[in-house]
Assembly symmetry: C2
Homo-oligomer: 385 residues x 2
């Protein structure tokens, strides 16, 4: 396996009713808090009131940036940076899912950069030390609660790009399964696709001797696949929510990815789709991943065979054949939980495939398992139709 550095300093506070800790925990970082929230769902479920009450009980002063959308926008990030500057904010507190956390991270990163924050994404300018971020998570999906990544969309340029830095790991993340239990079922399922997709990006690569990491990855996949039907049956099943929540965090906190080459082409392709069509990230991933798998499975047939045998329990001697079956099983699984796996099913036709392929490869060929040039991405998108 490859040499690596693993350094994940985020403090995870996990469990039912751990939301109660938010005031005391936030207080460790100062007095002036910028609450970053979405479009009102945290208000509907009562979480907003609870957090505000807990912060006030500790004597903290609250400022508010509301309106983060799925596929969060750089415009709001810019607004947030101004608010932090004008109000001398000590801590960014993201209460929501990945979009809200990523907005807070982008604000933090942009704050200590002298130019426009989009430069950090577009021109990969270096990110500097900045103010702390805290999280109260409401959706098991992106893993952003325990890593240094953020993905932001720019509607003007129709781009969706990522940054990564040790300075934007949350200082603490409160993972209270109760807060995830009120997420609508379709978004819960897109979150689950996101979790599985993170595992796929790290698992299906050309590093064969990261045995423990791959077994950890299989553990997450098996657990997610067996737990999802329980959530569909009863969306308020707190045990199942707890399990999925912890799977989501571990899918992208580094533990299954260290020492691996990893791929990440599918995420780049999906970002190109949702930058143009604004579909949920998880939905886009459910569409692209099985087709990417078909396109690359001949490069690492043994990996797909492991996926087939160790995750799905598919038997058979021929690695390539059982590997193909595993991809079909994944498609069946997504369809069975009501998540489509074709662009046509979400109203996207072949009109902008070229543009998407161009966008996905704007920094050069993508992925590692098979280096994908623009033409490869175009072919995969055609398979997705």
């Amino acid at each position: 396996m490859r040499n690596f550095v693993f350094h994940n300093p985020t403090k995870i506070i996990f469990g039912v009713d751990t939301t109660e800790e938010v005031g005391k925990e936030s207080k460790n970082y100062g007095k002036r808090i910028l609450l970053v929230i979405g479009q009102g769902s945290v208000k509907k479920i009562g979480l907003y009131d609870r957090v505000v009450k807990l912060l006030k009980e500790e004597g903290l002063e609250i400022f508010e940036l509301e309106g983060v959308k799925p596929n969060p926008r750089v415009d709001l990030v810019r607004k947030g940076i101004n608010m932090v500057r004008e109000n001398n904010i000590d801590l960014l507190l993201a209460v929501g899912g990945g979009s809200v956390i990523d907005t807070a991270k982008a604000i933090a990163a942009g704050l200590t950069y002298e130019g426009d924050v989009w430069d950090l994404f577009k021109y990969r300018k270096p990110i500097k030390p900045t103010i702390p971020i805290g999280v109260v998570l409401t959706l098991a999906a992106t893993g952003s609660e325990m890593n240094g990544n953020a993905v932001i969309s720019n509607l003007e340029t129709q781009e969706k790009l990522a940054i990564s830095s040790p300075y934007i790991y949350p200082k603490f993340s409160i993972l209270d399964p109760k807060n995830t239990a009120s997420v609508p079922l379709n978004h819960t399922l897109y979150g689950i696709v996101d979790i599985l997709s993170h595992v796929f990006e790290q698992y299906f690569d050309r590093v064969d001797d990261a045995i423990l990491q791959d077994r950890f990855a299989e553990a997450i996949m098996k657990t997610v696949i067996e737990t999802t039907p329980k959530i569909i049956k009863n969306p308020e099943d707190l045990n199942a929510r707890t399990t999925i929540l912890w799977c989501g965090t571990n899918a992208l906190n580094g533990i299954i990815g260290v020492g691996k080459e990893q791929d990440w082409a599918t995420h780049a392709i999906e970002h190109a789709i949702s930058a143009i069509y604004d579909i949920p990230h998880g939905l886009g991933l459910a569409i692209v991943f099985p087709h990417w798998m078909k396109y690359v499975s001949d490069v690492i047939p043994h990996k797909f065979a492991n996926f087939a045998r160790n995750v799905w329990g598919i038997t058979g001697d021929d690695d390539f054949e059982v590997g193909l079956k595993s991809i079909e099983r994944l498609i069946d699984f997504y369809e069975s939980i009501g998540v489509p796996t074709k662009l046509s099913k979400v109203g996207i036709n072949d009109e902008k495939l070229e543009e998407m392929a161009e966008k996905a490869t704007q920094f050069g060929p993508i992925g590692n398992t098979k280096k994908l040039a623009k033409e490869d991405v175009y072919k995969i998108l055609q398979m997705c139709l």
Copy 2:
């Protein structure tokens, strides 16, 4: 599963030749370094010279505490505390295995306590913020390179006790598989038993719904069991050494233990044995664990059945029966790699069983899976004869 806090800020620098980083990494913490080492093996393998050279290249000033023994002694800890005070040390740099790391941790803990350091162990006095610790690991075993635990022996009182604190996590740990490849085979194997034993302590408890953690635990156990014969065949197999090394760290960095009740009775029993007879910790664990398992398996037969089916591939419908078979398989495995599983085989007779049982339960009944009073421990020790 139980609510938990997971916060593991240790920076892991992993891979072949990462030892080269020790100078640059140490420099981040100051100028004056107290090197903590064992009884000369790091000098024999050339690691000592290499580390000293790298530290000097960064202009660091080196002080030295040599002579840490397996089952490290509180006497040397006291000497180390004095050295740190007299020389204004900025960083404790442990170069060695768990004993050396634990000595450094105990020095750090004792440094900011006004009384004698043994009070922290014996009377569980609170541990305060202290100076940083760095690690260059030479043995895959204790997991001490990525946690806040330390175990120290007191020859005078014939006690072996543990402390645990967020303040004594190493700031960084360099895990270079090459440094583990020169460890003699018997000590490598005791280390492997230690790794498996850490997994057992966390896996065999009464929490049934920490599904991901238990699958992670099974991943470590399977990987260790299948990799050990490769090391016996070729002790210099760097791939196998790499795999075992990363398993050892993950076995006790929190990732498989969060949300679990855990047990830890077997460690307390082993500490009582090695406090009196000074046998290697891993050897003691190989002797006690199978017998502890037999004594408690009726409380959690389904857990032993999971162990049997998911780790050993044992088939069968009756949980209790397949569970018993898994214990026999573990004994066979230990015997097959040349590690004894009986006290009589290491020259210990029934003379001091009573004293050991007394020592192991000095703070009250031990373990959680089955609460073990002195009489229970005595019975388990008899089974170990």
